[in-house]
């Protein structure tokens, strides 16, 4: 496989000017999110759609960010590259090394995007420019670094080959509509890798794809993470996606983190009723039911959060305290964080569901 390994910047001409950056990179450490809060205006005033979110994207690992739609997970991910809507206001810290990206200037953020942190978007059929060739889109970052058009195309072909596109050299001149959905997402991933970032944010990277292709894209992401030593933030609402590739898990509900920890541990024995409900709602292959145990109610609206624990109206375990007192995220066991007043009482109830998942 190593001969297919392209990432040409490592070995070719530009290596010398990239070298200092490389040295700096290795010491940069994880991407740390601290107290991230994002206020967005809505119809009834502004609300903290993301509220005091903290987690780390550790080096060489895949961190899963899971939650229902509207939980603020995508917005959280976009805040890491400074691409939240113009009307949004982000506070807190996103630390790349010692640098807080939330207070970095526009020019600095442009340097970070693509080169340090890049993004794989959800739907490759709309996230790729329809009037630009795949090769030009993949190689655009490299063009910005002074490569000629031909060189950029060659690199693009290498990258496309790296992500498993057959006959990559012959297809750099193709347009997105000439690719299948899975191929487009591979091209999107190649595009995200072009700037040789250390961090890749994958926002629902398989949601828009056929089920048959999803696993292959996830495997590709896992392979790239290992081969290129990437750190990945995987945003998804799909627990099965998470169980497939995530090393660490951050569970979000109504804009807040409700549980955090190692993926296996979290899925095996959730310490928050919401996570537990999520695990139970996943249809098991062995059980003849479309949805094993659906979660009742609808997700809390950040503009109209219930008092106390935001999950309390849907929680089977809710008591009076949950309706008045906001549970802080606390370390319940080493490496396990939960924002439930009764986290210690969590039983090992979801064995069967979790076994199918893992």
């Amino acid at each position: 496989m190593s001969d297919r390994h392209p990432v040409p910047t490592r070995t070719t001409a530009t290596m010398s000017d990239r070298a200092p950056e490389r040295a700096q990179r290795s010491s940069a450490g994880p991407l740390r999110v601290r107290g991230l809060t994002i206020a967005l205006p809505g119809q009834r005033g502004t609300a903290d759609v993301v509220d005091d979110v903290s987690f780390d994207v550790l080096e060489g690992r895949t961190t899963g960010l899971i939650g229902e739609s509207g939980s603020g997970k995508s917005l959280t991910a976009m805040a890491l590259v400074g691409l939240i809507p113009d009307t949004g206001v982000a506070s807190g810290q996103v630390l790349l090394g010692d640098e807080n990206l939330l207070t970095a200037g526009r020019a600095r953020m442009r340097q970070v995007r693509g080169a340090e942190i890049s993004v794989v978007f959800q739907d490759p059929s709309t996230a790729l420019n329809p009037t630009m060739t795949i090769g030009d889109q993949v190689g655009e970052i490299l063009r910005g670094r002074g490569l000629s058009r031909r060189q950029a195309r060659e690199r693009a072909a290498d990258l496309l080959d790296h992500v498993g596109i057959p006959d990559a050299a012959g297809r750099v001149g193709a347009y997105p509509h000439e690719f299948s959905g899975g191929m487009r997402q591979r091209a999107m991933i190649a595009l995200a890798l072009a700037g040789r970032p250390r961090f890749v944010l994958a926002d629902e990277p398989t949601t828009a794809l056929d089920v048959t292709v999803q696993a292959r894209i996830l495997d590709l992401l896992a392979r790239l993470r290992d081969e290129d030593n990437l750190s990945m933030l995987l945003v998804s609402h799909d627990l099965r996606v998470m169980s497939h590739v995530a090393d660490d898990l951050v569970v979000m509900y109504a804009g807040r983190v409700c549980e955090r920890g190692g993926a296996k541990a979290v899925l095996n024995r959730p310490l928050h009723p919401y996570t537990d409900a999520l695990v139970r709602s996943v249809p098991s292959v062995r059980v003849r039911s479309a949805i094993a145990d659906p979660l009742p109610g609808s997700p809390a609206n950040p503009f109209d959060r219930p008092t106390g624990c935001p999950f309390n109206p849907r929680c089977p375990r809710a008591e009076d305290r949950c309706r008045t007192e906001v549970p802080p995220l606390r370390e319940v066991e080493p490496g396990r964080f939960s924002a439930c007043h009764f986290a210690e009482l969590a039983e090992r109830t979801s064995d069967t569901a979790a076994e199918d998942l893992l």
Partner: protein
């Protein structure tokens, strides 16, 4: 591809034929004809009917129509009784002046319209957008005959900067082309605005931003090209309106193009000129539409694929 092309050309011929036939009928429905105009109000009925017979105007309209179509299809559009020359020769002599006028107006409308449209569309709802949208709304509402007269009043009579009428050189070109460009600019600006606003909300613009491109590069490389596609279509559809506007503007500014020739010919019932000019305008319009489609298929690879299928 080939059947597509054949279909396309067939459609063009059909359009031109439709324009010719409509003009033919409308001209004959109008009161008076060449004989009455040529002989004047003092002529007796006998004189008029004698001339009618001579010109073949007393034949049934259907016969006249077939006769005209027959010779027109061989390139003979009849002779102008006022110029004593082949109508098409007279028209083609005046045609370059109209082309210069229309092209200047189009160039003005495209540069200013695209610029305004992009400025407004990149930040919908902001001040720049509201100001530009307001201005273009007014520009679109002003009829050329009025804005032409106002421009003459201001530039020629009050400020004495430019000649009010005449044709040929550059200073004569300014006022008529500006007049013609005003509503066209507004149209281009408004279409571009909505197109840019739509495109900049597309996910691939976010992708471009996530590459660390500057806003200028995002706009230039990703937004504009995709935004221009509907603009090309609208501009090509507007060519007919532009030529219609040219007729009025040429009249207002005494610009010696096909437009003013046409107005004179209608008044004098110079059928050959009116019909010849209509054929020419119709051909220009269908050709521009074809060109726009070709251009769009160059801009958008998906259209290219669709045309081949």
């Amino acid at each position: 591809m080939l059947p597509q092309l054949v279909r396309r050309i067939g459609l063009m011929v059909f359009t031109v034929w439709g324009a010719v036939s409509l003009t033919f009928v409308i001209l004959r429905l109008a009161p008076g004809d060449q004989a009455t105009v040529q002989l004047g109000p003092d002529a007796t009925a006998a004189e008029v009917s004698a001339l009618r017979g001579e010109l073949g105007l007393d034949r049934p309209i259907f016969v006249q129509y077939l006769d005209y179509l027959g010779s027109a299809s061989t390139g003979d559009f009849g002779e102008s009784y006022r110029f004593h020359e082949s109508a098409m020769t007279v028209i083609l002599e005046r045609f370059p002046a109209t082309v210069v006028l229309a092209l200047t107006a189009t160039a003005l409308a495209l540069t200013i319209g695209l610029l305004l449209g992009i400025m407004a569309g990149r930040s919908p709802g902001r001040l720049a957008d509201r100001v530009i949208s307001g201005i273009t709304l007014v520009m679109q509402a002003i009829p050329p005959f009025w804005s032409g007269i106002m421009l003459i009043l201001l530039m020629a009579l009050t400020l004495r900067l430019l000649p009010s009428a005449g044709s040929g050189d550059l200073e004569h070109l300014v006022l008529p082309s500006v007049t013609l460009a005003i509503p066209f600019t507004a149209l281009v600006a408004r279409i571009t605005r909505s197109s840019v606003a739509e495109v900049t909300a597309e996910p691939y613009i976010l992708t471009a931003r996530s590459k660390g491109l500057s806003e200028r590069a995002v706009l230039a490389r990703h937004a504009v090209r995709n935004s221009v596609i509907p603009v090309v279509t609208i501009v090509s559809l507007h060519i007919g309106t532009l030529l219609g506007g040219a007729v009025i503007v040429e009249q207002v500014f005494a610009w010696e193009g096909v437009g003013s020739l046409l107005v004179g010919a209608v008044g004098n019932r110079d059928y050959a000129i009116v019909q010849g000019a209509t054929v020419l305008f119709a051909i220009v319009v269908v050709t521009m539409n074809l060109l726009a489609d070709v251009l769009n298929s160059r801009l958008d690879p998906r259209i290219r694929a669709g045309a081949q299928a």
